[in-house]
């Protein structure tokens, strides 16, 4: 139960923790081709949990980022993601606009105030 990627072959870890738990839903979709009510209570809960997990990963990527992003000060990372999200909301909910403004803020603020 406490196995991590360091304990086994990374490709085996990819299959066990990435491929199979994802692919099994595609297989189930093929074999149990019954229509699923996406507005059913269980699906609403599942979608909420899946969204929250992804949101948590996003938060962790900003707060405790890996490698190169860690060299950018926390305040700049937070300012940049906030700027990007506000741009996304203001500019017709365009993901592209959000990414562009967030990136511009990150690079701009880093060049101005970075280490």
């Amino acid at each position: 139960m406490s196995l991590t990627v360091g304990d086994i072959d990374p490709y085996l870890a990819l299959v066990l923790a990435g491929f199979l738990p994802n692919e099994v839903w595609r297989w189930l979709g093929v074999f149990f081709a019954r229509r699923i009510d996406e507005e059913s209570e269980v699906m609403v809960w599942v979608r909420a949990v899946a969204t929250a997990i992804l949101a948590g990963v996003i938060a962790q990527l900003v707060l405790t980022p890996p490698g190169g992003l860690a060299s950018v000060p926390l305040a700049i990372r937070l300012a940049a993601i906030t700027a990007g999200f506000i741009a996304f909301l203001l500019l017709r909910r365009s993901v592209f606009a959000g990414v562009l403004c967030g990136e511009a803020a990150l690079v701009g603020l880093s060049l101005l105030f970075g280490p």
């Binding site: 491929f19 599942v46 899946a50 997990i53 949101a55 990963v57 938060a59 962790q60 909910r93 690079v107």
Partner: protein
């Protein structure tokens, strides 16, 4: 479309190529390209090899699941925690497969063909196939979908490699910018996909609770924070329904 050919004229190979060409015309190919540059960079900085990163794109083929699995494994989470988190994010694929397959199946279609095709199904491919397959004769739809899937996956693989190489070579600030694609792109696209209040609440609660759980060093923090935040959001939704 003026170039719709009658069934007897369109071979499977032609349908596959048509799908690949449509993928190239799709707006999603640009979105995927940018997203997977970010993913490649993320995988690099979390310590995975380039061949592992490419294999993960080909095998998982679902952006959120990939980001979850590299973040979890790269941060030293257990395989079980990563697998459960991926499984929860993958459930949404099942209704997509269920909805698409009746439109591509014929009585002659074999199960293994469906399983192989289903592997390509992800949000982008699914939306595009619904838009495009009515123009394709039923007997050629499976080949068309495979072409569409391959036409989206190949650019994603190229982008994964580019992102990986960029993270390895770019000066610090630009390397950080490439890594920053993943959080900002996924934040915006998740917000965009959150139409209902329950989804929006789940996004906000997840953003807040995950760092709290991580800071408190809760065991299985990613998973428990997600389940707690999602359930809280669902509870608010139920409460609101009950008040009506």
């Amino acid at each position: 479309m003026t170039d719709t050919q009658p069934i007897e004229r369109m071979t499977s190979a032609a349908a596959f190529c048509r799908g690949a060409v449509e993928a190239g015309r799709s707006v999603f190919v640009y979105v995927l390209f940018g997203t997977f540059i970010g993913y490649g960079a993320l995988a690099h900085d979390l310590g995975f090899t380039i061949s592992w990163s490419l294999t993960s794109t080909a095998l998982i083929w679902a952006g959120p699941a990939q980001v979850i699995v590299v973040s979890a494994l790269g941060a030293g989470s257990t395989l079980v925690q990563a697998a459960v988190a991926v499984a929860l994010s993958g459930i949404r694929l099942m209704p997509m497969v269920v909805a698409l397959l009746p439109m591509v199946k014929t009585p002659k279609t074999r199960s293994w063909q469906l399983l192989a095709s289903a592997h390509f199904i992800a949000v982008s491919m699914w939306v595009e196939s619904f838009r495009l397959i009515p123009q394709i004769p039923r007997e050629r739809r499976l080949a068309f979908c495979n072409g569409l899937g391959a036409g989206l996956m190949v650019p994603a693989l190229v982008a994964t490699a580019i992102g990986y190489a960029l993270a390895a070579r770019l000066p610090t600030v630009l390397g950080a910018a490439v890594l920053f694609i993943t959080p900002i792109a996924f934040l915006a696209s998740t917000a965009r996909n959150s139409r209902l209040l329950v989804d929006k609440l789940a996004l906000v609660f997840g953003l807040v609770l995950a760092p709290v759980f991580a800071y408190a060093q809760v065991e299985l923090d990613m998973l428990l924070a997600g389940v707690t935040a999602g359930t809280l959001a669902y509870g608010c939704h139920r409460f609101r329904e009950a008040m009506r």
